[in-house]
């Protein structure tokens, strides 16, 4: 991310919460130690800007060595793409749940997707023009997958509810 310009840990966190949110999570507990470690290795440099009332702002910038390192990292021919879904794990056992409980879970998932869609629209309206094609591709990917998930859930939720109904009727 620093390859696209200087930033503080706080700035990066905001990116993780917006444009990167659909495929990569990171909290302060990962970001700050990572920046320190990168600085130690000489892959980024750090400029401290004194401030009143809050900790000094530390603005990080990628170095020439950092750029070389990034380029080498981009040579990985088969980067992974992993999903870890407690949601899907839970839905495997929908027949053990109360129908209202299944509804709640489904709706909360749909809400998450809705939030992503709003975020995508926001990003598209604001900062998309200044982005390279790669970022557009990645944003579009998120939109396409979100839309597919939403459509699938809406069209197939009956599969889950039928069974819990049967369950609660026999119980």
């Amino acid at each position: 991310m620093l390859n696209d310009g200087k930033a503080s840990g706080y700035d990066l966190k905001k990116q993780f919460e917006s444009s990167f949110a659909h495929f990569f999570a990171a909290g302060f507990g990962s970001i700050y130690p990572a920046l320190s470690s990168l600085a130690e290795q000489g892959l980024v440099s750090c400029q401290e800007i004194p401030q009143q009332g809050k900790p000094d702002r530390k603005v990080y910038e990628i170095t020439a060595e950092g750029r070389r390192y990034l380029l080498k990292a981009l040579e990985n021919p088969a980067p992974c793409h992993k999903v870890r879904s407690e949601f899907l794990a839970m839905m495997c056992f929908a027949h053990l749940m109360q129908p209202e409980s299944v509804e709640t879970v489904l709706n909360s998932r749909l809400d998450d997707i809705e939030r992503f869609k709003k975020m995508f629209a926001d990003i598209e309206a604001n900062c998309m023009h200044e982005w390279p094609g790669g970022m557009k591709f990645v944003l579009g990917f998120g939109k396409a997958v979100s839309a597919a998930m939403e459509k699938y859930i809406c069209e197939n939720r009956y599969l889950l509810l039928e069974e819990t109904q049967k369950q609660s009727a026999s119980a």
Copy 2:
């Protein structure tokens, strides 16, 4: 998984590599310690079956207490669904890559998706009938999302390649 019947760690691993592969990864290093810990807590019981030439087969079975624990765990109203994609992270920087390198990455992703699709078809043909609706929903979810990813990549890969071409032309 033990709720659907007895199994050994080895058996569970096979499930993680087939029907669960698209939303939950686990290796032996996670499975065996987890089974031991569950047994210690009394949530599963273990029956050791002696064998020659290989370690005793340990068949685990869920206990009544384990079932109660599962039911309580299924009350979580907002289970998470996380994606961690080195693939998408890499594609953000496609403009820094060689066009052939981008092609390689894209094709390897497409191969992965193809493998998933074959696996889904296999599962559907074999064991699907005996499954509860939840498992069918989850399998269908995987199929829908895989299809959406494949379609998106095929229709939008030009976004990535245009830029690297420009890059290599100007270089």
